[in-house]
Amino acid sequence: MALDFSIILRFQDALLLGLWMTLKLTLICVILGCTLGFLVGLARTSRSVMLRAISSIYVEFFRGTPVLIQLFWIFFCLPLILGIELSNLASGVIALTLYMGAITSETFRASLKSVGPEQLDACIALGLPRRIQVINVILPQAVLRAIPTLLSNCVSLFKESALVSAVGMADLMFVGQNISNNTARPVEVLTIVALIYFVIAFPLTRAVSLIERRILAKLAI
């Protein structure tokens, strides 16, 4: 069969709009999700049994079920339960934020745990108050260690955001599928869509490994 990639140029604007939607969704959910994840990460290491139990159930549930079913649940069930209309964008943001919160909370928890007990011992030996211990000693090290994993969580979120196309949000994947159905040229259109995702995600994954090496080198001093 003859491939004709010039067809893409005709739909440039639509694809760009879809890409913009994907990026907007990713960005909003990265910011909200990291904040949520940080709070949940703290809750999971807290002394209160209640907080620990609730946050663990939340994290395990969102990590243990497919993102697609989470999305469907929030799109179809949340409006029924709350009794209010939710816009497409709002439901997408809620679903992906909850997903991002669950995976980043694990990242924060692991990095909080990775700050060794000798650091705390040193704080106690120096007679530092609890507040200073957390803010000036534990947190900076924990956040620094979390950065590479957080970045790869962002890449995962960017990829998972393509799922919103399944519930009719006009993101890059949705636009791509529509164009491919209307023009009957799936090979060209879907390949270009895949390439667009690749071109954005690939440099990010490279950046992750670069930053990881730098931070490891810095922490080794």
Partner: protein
């Protein structure tokens, strides 16, 4: 909230059938992923650029594009490009299997690199040929070290397999969607489907956690 729940209206027979399809997809994709992933890891680490580069491109492409794009691409484009028509189940298994292969290859690579150099030197000293060195020295050590990540990736594919519902493979997700539209009971149906997925993947993640803790204890 004034919604009356009615879990009675959900029939479990189609969900059970769907779960079997999901498990079949997961198992077959894992076989491809575990075996193919190791071979792919060897290719990535090959000193010959002509072998290494295509393998790396394959891995990076699957790791850097959304799984849903890969699955839709596979279903629409492979029949057109290569003029082959496979059953939807086979297509689903291949798409998920290739995706898993790429992720597992990275896991294997990390643990192959962690096999101590001395062990391979010892293999050379004992007069083993390169093939025997891989089979008897590298593979057992690397495989054991990668088990936690392989399990995590494997359960990841179990969850990703829900995506084949979009291309109308009748898995658990697809049956759930159909049931939700037939009964007008989306809350009950999707909750039950989510719980089924959770009930399968949660024990596996607990096992992974246990294996990792044990490994850390052994290393200390």
């Amino acid at each position: 909230m004034n919604y009356s729940f009615d879990f009675q209206s959900i029939s479990f027979a189609p969900l059970w059938e769907g779960l079997m399809v999901t498990l079949e997809l997961t198992a077959a994709a894992n076989i491809i992923g575990i075996v193919g992933g190791f071979l792919l890891a060897l290719l990535i680490m090959s000193p010959i650029a002509v072998i290494r580069l295509p393998a790396m491109l394959f891995v990076e492409f699957f790791r850097c594009t959304p799984a849903i794009v890969q699955i839709v691409w596979f279903f629409y484009c492979v029949p057109m490009l290569f003029n082959v028509f496979l059953g939807s189940m086979t297509m689903g298994i291949l798409a998920l299997g290739f995706n898993l292969m790429a992720f597992n290859a990275e896991a294997y690579r990390a643990s192959i690199q962690a096999v101590p150099r001395e062990q391979i030197d010892a293999g050379i000293a004992l007069g083993l040929n390169p093939f025997q060195r891989i089979l008897y020295i590298v593979l057992p050590t690397a495989f054991r070290a990668s088990i936690p990540v392989l399990l995590t990736n494997g359960i990841g594919i179990f969850q990703q397999s829900a995506l084949v519902a979009i291309v109308a493979v009748q898995d658990l997700m697809y049956q759930g969607k159909t049931l939700a539209t037939e009964t007008y009971r989306p809350i009950e149906t999707f909750t039950v489907v989510a719980l089924i997925y959770f009930a399968v993947s949660f024990p596996v993640t607990q096992v992974v956690g246990y294996l990792e803790r044990r490994r850390q204890l052994l290393m200390n």
